[in-house]
Amino acid sequence: VSGDRHTRQAQGQPQRVDPLPEAKLDERRIPRTDDGPSAEAAPHAGLSPDGDSERARRAELLDQVGAAMGAASSLGARLQSLASVVLPRLGDLCVLELYRAEGPAERWVLYPYDHPPRELPTSLQVDPARELDEGPVKLLAGTERPAILATAAGPHDPPKGTQHILDALKVTASFSARLWSQRKLVGVLTLGSTQTGWRYGHEEVLLGEGLAARVAQALDSAHLYKDAQDQLRVRDEFLTIAAHELRTPTSTLRLLLQSMQYQLQTSALTPAIVERLQRTLAKSVQQCDRLVQFGERVLDVSQIRTGTLTLRTREIDLAELVKQVVNHLEGRLVHAGCTLEVNADAPVLGRWDQVRMEEVLITLLDNVIKYAAGSPVRVEVTGTSRAARLLVRDSGSGIPPGQEERIFEPFERAASVDRGGGWGLGLYVCRRVVEAHGGSIHVERAPGGGAAFVIELPRGGDQHDSGAAQSTTAV
């Protein structure tokens, strides 16, 4: 790994990070009066507790770290900047251990330019979750920043994963500072020295903690940047899908209008033609309704995202609603080759938002048309004294294992975009609407394959008996 500079990743393949120009390194060195650790009989990390000037120097170094890390974009470049500011001033290496929501901890060994440590053993991975379990970490509530009351190791001792690296590199002195972000432990920064007799004192510990706070901040801003990029990507994806979804009803509408135009140009207005025109007009209105529904759904998403989704509840019969929606979609279901079995004979009354529950059912049946074409479909409404249960079950290919929750996330779908169908928001809106009613929706594997969507809805009588025609629920 001779090509590596400043940083080296302890797990997997070492990551190459381009070196900073040396001139820049020099600019980032802290002005100092002594000749460095070797000038003292007992080498010290270069800072002595001599009051105001040390505090100023500390502040200056922290500012340099903040500025240097903030200017870099990638994590590697940020850590490289960190290394060039703090090393060899505060030791001859620095180990940064970063915890992630998933996967093993990532460990970086930072070292001064032209002074790489000896080779690292390749098997230095330690599961951070297990390690935290082993060493009891307690958080002190009520302070701005969580403090560690006790760990198996002391608060300035390295975690086990880092300790393996320190041992392998023959580090004789070290201290660690925890990185906190949003009250979560996101990593540990360890400074170390291989020089005999090097020690870290109170000043270095203070500096190290300040350093850890700056590093945590820099990592935070890197995450925020990535989140913002992800959000933009999601929005672009949404626009692509939305454009496609708009094109479908508009294409149909355009054909319907053109067909009427064609009829009027080529045929006399016989009663048969008039009847035909009326039918085509009715179909045109249906396509307009789909466009309106699309607009409503976009608005729903916006309201869900801003927490202002409003339900207009009144007493309705869910069984009747199901029959109406099924009737409305019958043509499309038949075209998709779905044979339909509806079990909604007994009325199931409750206080719900009729328009939104229609949307929910339309979404579920739309999914059947798209993903379970040609399969028998069963729609069932049943009720207990407290809740209603709505089942939509098909015999299609079902939801791939492991995707049962993902399909309810915005812009997710089990099938890929180019297989058509779905616009990635339907089930997301369904879940939020159902939850706004105090209910739940989930998908199960239907017996013999296929997907079974189950909605449980509280009847809502107790909450809404005041007779108010409208109630508002923020999600």
């Binding site: 294409s251 149909t252 048309i369 040609g374």
Partner: protein, 126 residues
């Protein structure tokens, strides 16, 4: 009577096209995806297929590939209609088709194509 198979998962499109083409004097059959389409082609051997691209189960391009690999149907006339421009890297599968229409398309353009391909110049009742 010439037979046309209209394949689209969007019922509205299939509905309006079937009605119009029937009035033009053709026999019209429909399918909701490429898989159903292949079954229909094998059953009825249509003179022309009007095929959507983005469909569940088996999409239009997938169906075209299967048609082209089958000597019995390789020369079948196919008009492809799509809400998106022809996808990059798929030119090969589209090179053997008889026509391409970007949705939303003009009804007259479709009718012209159909008449040309099926050589029926009579505007209606043929």
């Amino acid at each position: 009577m010439k037979t046309i198979l209209v394949i689209d998962d969007e019922f509205g499109i299939v509905d309006v096209l079937s009605e119009l083409l029937e009035e033009e004097g053709y026999r019209v059959l429909t399918a909701a995806n490429g898989q159903q389409g292949l079954e229909r082609v094998a059953e009825v051997r249509p003179n022309l297929v009007i095929l959507d691209v983005m469909m569940p189960v088996l999409d239009g391009l997938g169906m075209l590939r299967k048609l082209h690999s089958d000597p019995a149907h390789r020369d079948l006339e196919v008009i492809v209609m799509s809400a998106a421009p022809p996808p990059k890297g798929q030119q090969e599968v589209l090179s053997n088709i008889s026509g391409f229409l970007r949705k939303p398309f003009d009804l007259q353009d479709l009718l012209k194509m159909v008449r040309l391909l099926l050589k029926s110049d009579e505007p209606r009742g043929g």
